[in-house]
Every structure is written in structure tokens, then in C-alpha cells.
């Protein structure tokens, strides 16, 4: 039996080296903006799988990052179930038997030359957050999270919108490059009950961002709100060995930007793919106005089972997002549209081997998106985008018999295929990226109530690409689009290190965590940049320092 278990563990571990769980692929909700590297922490993503605010049919492009550390001293061991793996609030009564409350405060700074044109030069952020879950009465449980952050952006780039690198190619920019201040607040929660043998869950949340210029000469006033809600139901069979669930989720909201320009100097460029947009002169009254309304829906089915000590949950989501863009406050109907349909499917497995003090989690996820952009003055599409992502990852945790030592290993890889066809510019791009990475963390208890962990992570980007020749395109393409595509098309690497200190005191765990991470293109790309091509250069470094307190109470039942 032990041999079987060991064999299975080995297989799972090997699989995990080429696998990715949905949780590992997702970051904390709200991690979709250009400043996500500083605005979000590396909290274990499975703890936020239930979030009603997680993106739908949107695959933002991020700068390369190293594989995350497991945070052995902070994050609890990954769990299985409809809640933690598939994000169904209906799984709360079954999956939450303990109580946990944690508060964090952190600061981070991100800067460097290795960036895209619409990324800010430098970002600094301070953030407070809280997360908690607990059982509720008999047959109920609740989970919730709140966070607020303040970000300052030096030379925030030409982007008027919070997320210039989402799937939608319709991005508002202007010719100014001001310093900005962003205030971000989010709250979300979910409740689950057991009713007549079924699990019933409701989730709701909202994230709001205020995005204003600092010391403005050309004021740029932006704000965004993203409400989300979910409803789910679940059923367990055969004593909990089989789990079935379904969820409907909605994500709405809007983003508004107003630029009050200097007449004759400020120009707004509404990017609509690869064609150079008509420049719009922005005056001081009424200025430049742009608003995007979002309506996104996802319908998910989940099947889970437990066999041979392995808990497996698989899901499939049908997703749809529609964005309507307005060019003036009184403008109705909207001028531009973005519509995307997609699938998100995957599975995650968790295998605990108490005898070996080993926990293995592995997963696979496949997401695809087919989107089209339309302009009201043209018939047909102006841009068609097709994104496909395959993610595989796994992680393993091991603790020594006296819990003095602990080791955490993460291995992951992803393949991203992104294709864009611009029917106006008659241009086409296709970029395929392989993103392998791994991390290792070692923790040790150095005093009866004090532990420390050290970890390091790596990430790589290998690409093959076909992009338009900048010489055949316009100046706006050359300034704002070509460097971005060149960055995606260049091989690069990322590395990170992190140190965590944890102290048990007064019935709680107090921790301090520091991390450093950097990314840079390979030498060949840097050489091309030196030769004047649109190739990336330099490095991008992220520092973060934070601390917090965790109060956890064991299972009540």
C-alpha cells in the first residue's frame, strides 16, 4: 500500500511539474491592471477562487514574472472542494469547517526600463487587506475579503484607462504623461447554506478605483467600478465522495475617464488595433470623455470526486463579455463595442499523504477567447482577437516529522497563443509564448515560536512571433504598439527571492515578509534594442515589504 501511495505521489509530483492548477493560474481578483504587480500580494490564489470579481472572458497580458513562492509560513495548505478549486460559494458549508482571519499591510515599489509603452515608469503602493472565513450556525459558512490600496504612479504613461493590456484592443490614450494617484478599494463576500441536502451559495462584491492626476497641468480624471455577483448550487453524493455543482456569475461595471486638455497641445488617440487612430484635439471644455460599460457573464459546471485519497475537481465555464464604449456623456447608443466569448476549463487534484508529511496539488487549465471589436461608423469587425492559454502547474509541500523543517516546491508552465487581425490596417500578429517557471522555498523553526523561510523563483519566456512591420504602419503604432509586441516577442527571464519571518504570540501568528523580483529580456533582445529596433531593454524590479497577523481556529466539527 505504501508503495502504491509512493508511486502515485511520484506520478502526481511529476505531473505537477508540467501541470497548473486553476488556483495557481489565477491571481487575487483585481490583479488585472497595469499596476497589479504592486497592488496585489502573492496570497495563495485558491483562497480567492470564490471571488465574484475574478475576470470573465478576459486574458490580460502581463509582464513576465517568476513562479510564486508557496509562502509556507503564511498560507495554509491548499484545500480541495467545490469552493476552493472551482470557486462555488455553494461549497462553503462543506469546505469550511474552521475559522481564519488575517490582516495584512504592505508596501511595494516597481520600476525599471523593461516595460511596455502604456506601463507606468514607476509605481509605489501601500495596501491594507483583510480576509476571513468561518462556519455560520448549523449548515452555513461565510467568507469575505476587503482591501484598500493607494498607488502613486510616476509618469503614468499615455494610457487613460486602468488596464491598457486587457483583451480588448479599444484603449484610450492621450499625449500627456502625468503623475497619477490611484485609490483602490474592494470588498467581496460569499455565504453558503445547506438547504434540503443541497448547497446554496451567494456571492457579491465590488471593486472601485479612483484614478486622478497629481499636481496636474492637464487633468486626467478616471474612476472605475466593478460589481460582481454569483449564485451557485451544489450536491454531494456517496458520502461526499462525489460532488456536483453549478454557478452563474455576473460581472458588471464601468470605467470613466475625462481629460481636460490644453487647447492645441493635447491629443487623444483612441487605439483601435493596429491602425493609427484619427487624432482628437482635446480642449479644456468639455475635454475628452470616454466611458466603457461592461456586462460579463459566466456559467460554470463542476464535477468532483475523491478516490484513493485524491480529491479531484474539474470545471468548465462558458464565458461572455461585452464592452460598450461611449464618447460623450449624452451619447447613446455607444460608439464602439468589444464582444468576447470563451471557454475556461480545467481540473485540479489534491493528494495528502500524512504518513509522508507530503501534500501534492496539481492541475491543468485551458482557456480560450474569441473576441471582436466594432466601430459604429463601420460595418463588420475592425479587429478580431483569439487568445488561447494552456496552463499546467503543480506544487508539493513537505514537513519534517517534528515540523521543524518545511519545503515547498512549485513548478508550472503555460503556453499562450495570441492572434490579432486588424481589418482596417490589414495587419496580422500572432505570438506564441512558453512560460515555464519554478520556485523553491525552505522554512525552518528557529525558536519555539519563531520560524523563518527563504525562497527563490524563476520564470522564462520563450516566444515565436509574427508581427506587422513597423515601417508599414503609422507613427502611433510605432510609439504605442510596436514596442509592446516586441516585448512579447522577445525571450526573457524573471527571478525572485523572498524571506518570511513568523512569530507566534498572543494566540496569533504575526509575520513580516520581504520580496524582490526582477525581469529582463535576453541579451539578444537587448542587443537589438541597442541597435535601435523596437526591442525591449533594461530590467524591471519589484520590491515589497509587508506584515500582518493571522488568527486561525481549528475545525468546529
Amino acid at each position: 500500500m505504501t508503495r502504491v501511495a509512493t508511486t502515485v505521489a511520484a506520478v502526481a509530483l511529476l505531473a505537477s511539474l508540467a501541470a497548473a492548477s486553476r488556483a495557481a493560474a489565477q491571481n487575487e481578483p483585481g490583479a488585472t491592471t497595469a499596476t497589479d504587480r504592486v497592488a496585489n500580494e502573492t496570497q495563495a490564489a485558491w483562497m480567492f477562487a470564490w471571488s465574484p470579481l475574478r475576470p470573465i472572458a478576459d486574458q490580460p497580458r502581463h509582464l513576465l514574472r517568476a513562479a510564486p513562492l508557496l509562502d509556507l509560513l503564511i498560507a495554509p495548505a491548499p484545500r480541495a472542494g467545490l469552493l476552493w478549486n472551482a470557486g462555488l460559494a455553494a461549497g462553503l458549508p462543506d469546505d469550511v469547517a474552521d475559522s481564519r482571519t488575517e490582516f495584512r499591510a504592505s508596501g511595494a515599489a516597481d520600476e525599471g526600463e523593461y516595460r511596455r509603452p502604456l506601463d507606468p515608469d514607476g509605481v509605489a503602493a501601500q495596501r491594507l487587506s483583510g480576509l476571513g472565513w468561518r462556519p455560520l450556525g448549523s449548515g452555513g459558512a461565510a467568507i469575505g475579503s476587503a482591501r484598500v490600496s493607494s498607488e502613486t504612479l510616476d509618469r503614468a504613461s499615455n494610457a487613460d484607462v486602468l488596464e491598457p493590456y486587457g483583451s480588448s484592443p479599444l484603449v484610450a490614450t492621450d499625449t500627456t504623461n502625468p503623475a497619477m494617484r490611484r485609490t483602490r478599494a474592494a470588498i467581496e463576500g460569499a455565504l453558503g447554506w445547506r438547504v434540503l441536502g443541497f448547497g446554496v451559495g451567494l456571492g457579491a462584491g465590488v471593486e472601485a478605483v479612483d484614478n486622478d492626476t497629481r499636481a496636474p497641468r492637464v487633468p486626467r480624471l478616471g474612476r472605475a467600478t466593478s460589481p460582481g455577483a454569483s449564485a451557485s448550487a451544489s450536491r454531494t453524493l456517496f458520502g461526499g465522495r462525489v460532488r456536483l455543482g453549478a454557478e452563474a456569475r455576473w460581472l458588471g461595471g464601468n470605467e470613466t475617464v475625462t481629460v481636460i486638455g490644453q487647447t492645441g497641445l493635447t491629443i487623444a488617440n483612441q487605439l483601435e488595433g493596429y491602425a493609427d487612430p484619427d487624432p482628437r484635439l482635446v480642449g479644456n471644455s468639455p475635454g475628452y470623455f470616454r466611458r466603457a460599460d461592461r456586462d460579463a457573464r459566466a456559467y460554470t459546471g463542476v464535477v468532483g470526486f475523491t478516490a484513493l485519497g485524491v480529491a479531484v475537481d474539474g470545471w468548465a465555464s462558458r464565458e461572455r463579455t461585452r464592452l460598450d464604449y461611449f464618447g460623450a456623456r449624452q451619447e447613446n447608443p455607444p460608439t464602439d463595442h468589444w464582444a468576447a466569448d470563451g471557454w475556461d476549463a480545467g481540473a485540479a487534484a489534491r493528494w495528502a499523504l500524512p504518513a509522508h508529511r507530503l501534500l501534492v496539488v496539481a492541475g491543468v487549465r485551458r482557456a480560450s477567447l474569441d473576441g471582436t471589436a466594432m466601430r459604429s461608423d463601420l460595418t463588420g469587425f475592425i479587429v478580431r482577437a483569439r487568445d488561447h492559454t494552456l496552463e499546467l502547474s503543480g506544487q508539493a509541500r513537505w514537513w519534517s516529522s517534528d515540523s521543524t523543517w518545511g519545503v515547498g516546491l512549485v513548478a508550472q508552465t503555460a503556453q499562450e497563443d495570441r492572434a490579432r487581425r486588424d481589418y482596417v490596417a490589414e495587419a496580422y500578429s500572432s505570438i506564441t509564448s512558453w512560460l515555464p517557471g519554478a520556485s523553491l522555498e525552505v522554512a525552518r523553526r528557529i525558536l519555539p515560536a519563531t520560524s523563518v523561510s527563504v525562497g527563490a523563483g524563476l520564470g522564462r519566456q520563450y516566444t515565436s512571433s509574427q508581427v506587422p512591420n513597423p515601417a508599414n504602419m503609422g507613427p502611433v503604432y510605432g510609439a504605442l504598439v510596436a514596442p509592446e509586441l516586441a516585448l512579447y516577442a522577445a525571450n526573457a527571464s524573471a527571478r525572485s527571492v523572498g524571506v518570511t519571518l513568523r512569530q507566534e504570540a498572543r494566540g496569533a501568528s504575526w509575520f513580516v515578509r520581504g520580496a524582490w523580483e526582477s525581469a529582463s529580456p535576453d541579451a539578444a533582445a537587448a542587443g537589438a534594442a541597442a541597435a535601435g529596433a523596437y526591442a525591449p531593454r533594461g530590467t524591471r524590479s519589484l520590491w515589497s515589504l509587508g506584515g500582518g497577523v493571522i488568527m486561525a481556529v481549528g475545525p468546529r466539527r
Partner: protein
Amino acid sequence: MTERLPLAALSVALGAALVASPARAQQGGATVTGIVRDAATHAPVPGALVLVEGATPAARAASDSAGVYRLTRVPPGPQTIRVQRIGYAPGRVTVVVPGAGVLARDLEVAVAPLRMQRVTVTADPVGRARGELGTASVIDRDAIVNQTASSVAGLLELVPGTPLAPPGLDGVQQTSLRSVPTSQDFTDPNPSASRLAAFGTPIILDGVPISNNANLQSLGPRGEFLLNTSAGGGVDLRRLPASTVERLEVVRGIPSARYGDLTQGVIVVDTRAGAVRPLATARFDARTGEANALGGWTLFGGRQVLSGNVDVARTRLAPGLREDAVTRVAFQVAHRATLGAAAHSAAGGSVDDTAATPPRLVLDTRLDAYSLRQDSPERPTVDPGRVSWTRDYGGRLSERARLRLFGRTQLTVNGALDRATQDAFSQVQAVRGALPFTDLLTEGRAIGHYIGGPYLAAVRLQGAPWLAYGRAESETPLARFGFDQTLRAGAELRREWNDGPGYQFDVEFPPQTTFNGVQGFDRPRRYDAVPPLAASAFYVDDRLVRPFGGTGLFGGGSLEMQAGLRADLLHRGGSFGGVRDAVLQPRLNVQLAPAPWVRLRGGWGRTAKLPSLADLYPAPQYFDVVNVNWYTPNPAERLAVLTTSRRDPTNPDLGFSVATKQEAGIELTPGWRDAVLAVTVYRDRTAGAIGIHPVPGFLPREHYQLSDSTLGTGVPPTIIEPASSVDTVPYLLQQPANNLALRNHGLEATLVLPELSRVRTRLEVQGAMTWSRLEQHDLDFGRSFTAFQVDERIPRAPYWDAVTRTGQRGIITYRVIHHQPELGLVVTATIQQNLRETHHDAGSTDSLAYAGYITRAGVLVPVPAEQRANPEYADLRREPRAGIFLQDVGPPNDWMMSLQVSKTIPLDGRLSFYAFNVLDRLGKFPTGLNQGRQYLPMRVGLELSMPLGRAAGKEGGA
């Protein structure tokens, strides 16, 4: 609705009372008993104070060692029972008390109020202000902590009909109950009752009014600078932090006779005092940051209580656009000493309710201070030269002595001295053509100067308003004629003055740009030369309660009446000698409860509002007539001769604004899981309110020939006496007069549905529809008068009857409240539905609408309607009347939503997330003639409250 309706309701109520069961009052009422428990441990809590809010006579008791309390002779009907103890958040439950017998009701208190089974997030829909029978919204501390607000104005959102606004210190925050704006034209002098000193909702802070009567921070009706001050309207509520408020009583109906200087209800603010656990709170959003701390401690064995509160807040008014900001610092120190009774109880809480047995003498001392600064710094690259700021600093020392006399009579004496320093500055880059100018401060002719081109026009106003206030009131419980009675009689004195340096500016660069050669430039004025305002009042008020006997569905009701008479006197000068004006104000409220679950109410009364100091003693107005205007390229050769006239617009007959108010209502409280339905209709009319009366007159203008008009001499010419010709220039003197009337009527309703216990969610709906009509009983000279003034070729100009402006607004507010006591979680989604909101001007604009004409000698000549079409009046029909909206103008119906989520956190803390306009709805676009609606942008933030320690004394002890 007609004016007879409230009177009819009163008649019904009185008639019912006459035929009601003649049970003796002393036999009425029920006993309410139960156990006070800790919400978390369910252990009995001894030493807790339990009382019936607003009951007259007071019903209160302390829980014994087993936590058992027993309230006797509790009046029938819906009553709010409050329980409090040091170290716990106060608890409050609403019960429907039968006419007789015993009602068992356990109560609970909790360290974390969100963990109690029932939380309050809205105003009490059927509560009564203390000692008041008129319609009121009572907002207690437990509702206040669930309302994200920076000032008292934010708390008023819980009153039916009040629009939602984000928390912060944006703009001057004034209020006027039961009235809505009658114009959206902000240049209109009569837009809204809240911005007119003639109407008022007084703020009574800890028993003493806050007054804006001596606020002179305004340039008057001729001023061109828009200053960000509350002068000329109601009190700026930003000076009162919400964090310092323990209880807010908004008396929307007819207040008792003890309240004066009002036309639009009264707001009674009790600040936090007494022994309370120290607490710190901080709030942050993209615009506003606020922090406050408070605590209260018992001293000297419980015979004295000292408490303090400090609040600091800052709102950036237009982040990303300008650096404008408002900063407020406010603090309060409260001290209470009790003599002749047992030591301070462990109950804690408000100083009004700290003991089950009132002591012989209670001395309450309050020291309040605040600083409110608004800065709009210069933006050199965008708008060079434009700078403005206002800085208000104020303090108040008040003392209240409550002495228990023979029998059960209590004498209360209030005294307060309130002083503020107000400083306002505004500067703009003015550009104008060359104008002849004089700075003569006396009447006569003088050589003037020329000003022109770009220059910095600036004005600074420095005021120092004072209020000295005193009141003595006796309160005697009686039992006569089958009624339990509470008889109050009192007298009050108030004196208000301003000893500030006044408004100042460089007379070479006056803060006016529309000088037309007649209107003249204003001159600096000292405020300490303005006489004081002195007023006194006497009142008597009797509250009568008569419970009915009986049982069954319609048994056990009651009849309550409150009748009062008040006399307000406005004295001449600053002394309390001669009487300039006096108003007698009878007031009556009646409530008939044929059964405990239904109440019929009605009220009628008169109220009066004092004139403000600015209206009583307006600034003199200067008119500068240009006799010679010789402008040459060489400044040395220029000559300007002007004749200055000074007119005093003081109106010696100016007196009170007088309002007549009526209301009727019904309240149903079936006792089914806190369900409530309350509906009130009202009508009030304020007559003789103070507006501006244009008094026509004329000035002789002499024209002179010049001795030598040759250019290049290097010296100015001289005038040749005598004048070669003389003509006349008409003018209008802006004189305060009792010429405004405001009519309001409307409907208010509150519906509280029972909680859906399975999902622990309930719905509360409140709404109000209000119509306001502002009439000016005067003349309107229109915009053509300016051209008529300066052009002697125009022999006459038309005038019209003044426009009557109306406003209508309907707002329904839905609050969906989800409460999970086990989680200590409350989610409140507030949806505001804006119904009809229109503005309409009642006035004619056709060519025959004029009422007459004014001659160049300032004579008014009416023209009969049947002659206005005659050819000899063709010149009067040439100018169409402009600037009024004959059709309904207003934004379309729309809705918006705000959200608040509050959660307990470890260490007895509390974390709240709030989002105003959480969906960031812009508001509907214009349709047809309607204006668009523009909601304020979404604003989100977090608030964190943490107890800092334990209160001294018996904190949490059993």
C-alpha cells in the same frame, strides 16, 4: 390636500378624546419587565439602565443583580426601550405596549453592537423627540455609527426626502426641513430656503442654539464675489462632526413652544458625553480622510464625569483637477458634576440618562471649539491670480444647571457664550476697460481716477460673530383633569453681535467689475459698527397624556396633547429695552391612539424667525455718478469727476418672518416583527419673510464743459462751473423688507417591512414628496434697467410683478439591510429613486406682461392691463422678459445606489466599507425640455474603529 385636513384630524382626535373611556390616568399604562443579557454570553447584566425614550413622565429603571428590570406605567402604543451600561453599546428595541397589564421583553447589550440580534441603521420611524409630540426623526447613536457621515448633514440623509451625498466636507452644508429649492439658477437671489436667512431650521446643540444671525461674511445683494460662506442662510453643518453626535432629533412637524427662531422645524443635537469607552476611528477615501477619538471617565467616586472628543477631517474638493481642500478640526470637552444624590451609575451613555434616580443638582459644562478652513490655492498656469480661502474658528462655553426643587419640579438654567472668528478672502484677475473711479467715503463731488486693464481684484471679510444666550425653564409633572401632565414654562434671552474688522479691500482696486457709472463701487465697512441684535422670549407648554382602559383589538389606547404658547420679542438696538417687533405663537399637537397599534396625529402652530443682523443693518450703498469722463492716452491729461451719493437701505419696520404650520398623520405599528407604516401630510406658509425690496429713486447728474480739451498739454483740463446741463439718473436701492412668502406642502411616508428571518434581511422604505412655492410680493425691473440708468435718451423702462418660483421634488429611499449577528456583519444597500423634480416660474413673459414703468425721476407709473397694448406704450413692449422658466424644468426620473458593509473585527473593532453611487451612475441624459441629471461620481472608502482601552470606573463589571 386642503388646509382643512389637519384641522379636521385635530377635531376627530379631540372628539374621540371626549368620548373616550374616562379611566384615571394613574391607572393607565403597562408594566414592561424582562432580563438584560449580554448578547455574546447571554449572561444577565446587572446595573444596566433601562428607560423608555421620550416618555413623559420619564419611565426608567435599573436592572438588579439577576439582570431583571421592571418599568412601570409605560404609556401604551409603540415605545422605544433603551438599555445602556458602561462598556457596552446601548441596545434599543421597539415594543408595542398594551394599555394595561405586563409585557415581558428581554433586552440585550453587546460590546460589539453588530453582534446584537437587532441593529439600527435608519432613523426611528415612529420615535419622538424628547418632550415633543410633533413628527420627528430620531437618529440615535446606533444608527449614527452605521451611517457614514462627516458632519450632521450626512446624518440627515436618514430623514425622509433628503438626497444622498458622499461623506465629506464638500461645499457649504445648510439645511431647511420640508422645503426644496425653487430654482436651479444659482445667480437667482431666492433659490432655496436653506440659503435664505429669512427661513430657518435652528440647530440646538446641547440645549443651546447655534446661530448664523450675526454672520456678516457676505458682500450683500450688490456683491459680485461669490464667497464660500454660509452668510445669509442657515448654519454651516460642517462645523458639527457626526462623530461627536450621540443623538439627533429632527423635529419636522410643529415643535413645542420651547423652540424659537425658526420656520422650518428644528434639529436637536446631543453630543457624546458621559463615561464611554475610549474609541478611535479613522476613515479614508480618495477625497476625504477623517480621524477622531473620544473617551469619557468617571471621577471622584462617580460624582463627576469628564469626557472629550476630537475630530480631524480633510476633504480634497477636486482631486486631479485642483488642490482645493477643506480642513476641519473640532474638539469638545464635557464635564458633569452631580450633587445631592447617589453617585453616577454604571449605566454610562448620554448625560441625560445616566441615573435611574435624578440627583438634586446636575451641572453640565461643555467647551466646544472648531476650525473650518477652505483653501483654493492659485493655479498659476491655468488660472493665474485666482485665489480664495475661508477660515472660520469658533468656540463655545455652555453651562446647564438642573436643579430638583420641591416636589417633582425641576428647574433648568442654560447659559452659553459663543464666539467665532471668520475670515474670507477672494481674489481674481480682473480685466476691464478704463473706468472713472472714486473712493470718496462721504457724499459730494470729487476728482476721481481711472482704473482699467488687468489687475488683481481682491476682497477680504473679517467677522467675529458673538452669541450670548440664556434660558431658564421649569418643568413640573402634574396629574389633573384625568391627565398626566408635564408643565413647562421658560424664558430666554439672546444677544448677537459682530465685532470683526469687517470687509476690506484696496479702494484703488475694488472687487467689482460691472460698474456702470451709477451703481457705484462698494466701500469698506467695519462690522463692529453694526448694532447688536437682542431678543427675548417667554413660553409655556403643557404635555398631557391620558391612557384608556380596555382590552381587545381597540383597547388600551391613549390621548396625548401638547399645547403651548410662545412670545418672541425683537428689541430695539442692542439692549432688552424697547420692543421693535413681537410675535405670539400658539402651538398644538394632538395624538390619539384608539389602540396601541394605531396613532392618529395632528398639529397646528405658528413659529417666527428673527431677522439676521445683515438684514437689520445692511451696508450703506454708494452711487457714483460720472460728471466728467475725459480719458486721454496720456494719463497726466485725464480727468474724471464723480459725484458720490450714499443711501442707507436700513428698514426700520423690518420684523419677524412668521410661519403657520399644519400637519396630520397616521402611524400603524402592528407589533409584527418591527413592521411600521407612518404617513404624514403637512402644509406650512411663511409670510413676511425677508427679501430685497428695490426702492426706486433718482440722482441729479451735472454735466460740465472743460476749460481746455487740447491733447498734448501734459496737464488735465479743468471744469467750467456752473454745470452746462443737468439730467437725472434713476437707481434702485436694495432694501431688506418683509416681502417674501414661502409655501410648502407635501407628504412623507415610512414603511418598515418585517425581517425575512431565514435570510436575515429586511426592507425599509421612506419617501417624501415636497412642493415649495416662493413668492416675492414686489416688483421686478428686469435686465433692461441697467441700460435705462445710464442712457438719458431712454425716458422710461418697464417693470413687472415679481416672479413666483416653485419647486417640486420626490425622493424614495429603499434600504435593504442584511444582518448576520454571528458574523457581526451588516450590509446596507441604499437605493435612492429620484422621482419628479421640477422647477417652474409663475410669471408672464408676453409683451403685455409689464405692470408699469419707471421714469427717470424714479417714479413708478402703473399701466392698466387694458391699456398696455396702446401705441404710446410700444417702447415698453420692446424688451422681452428674460431669465424665467415657464415650463417645468428639471431632470428626469432616475436612481442610484450606495452601499455600506460593516463588520466586527478582533479586539472589539469594527471595519466598514462604504461606496457612494457604487455603480457610478452618471444620471440620465437630457430629454426634451428636461435638464439632465448628474449624479456625483462614485466614492468609496474604508472606516476603522477600535476601542483604545477601558473606561475608568465600573467598565464591564457585573
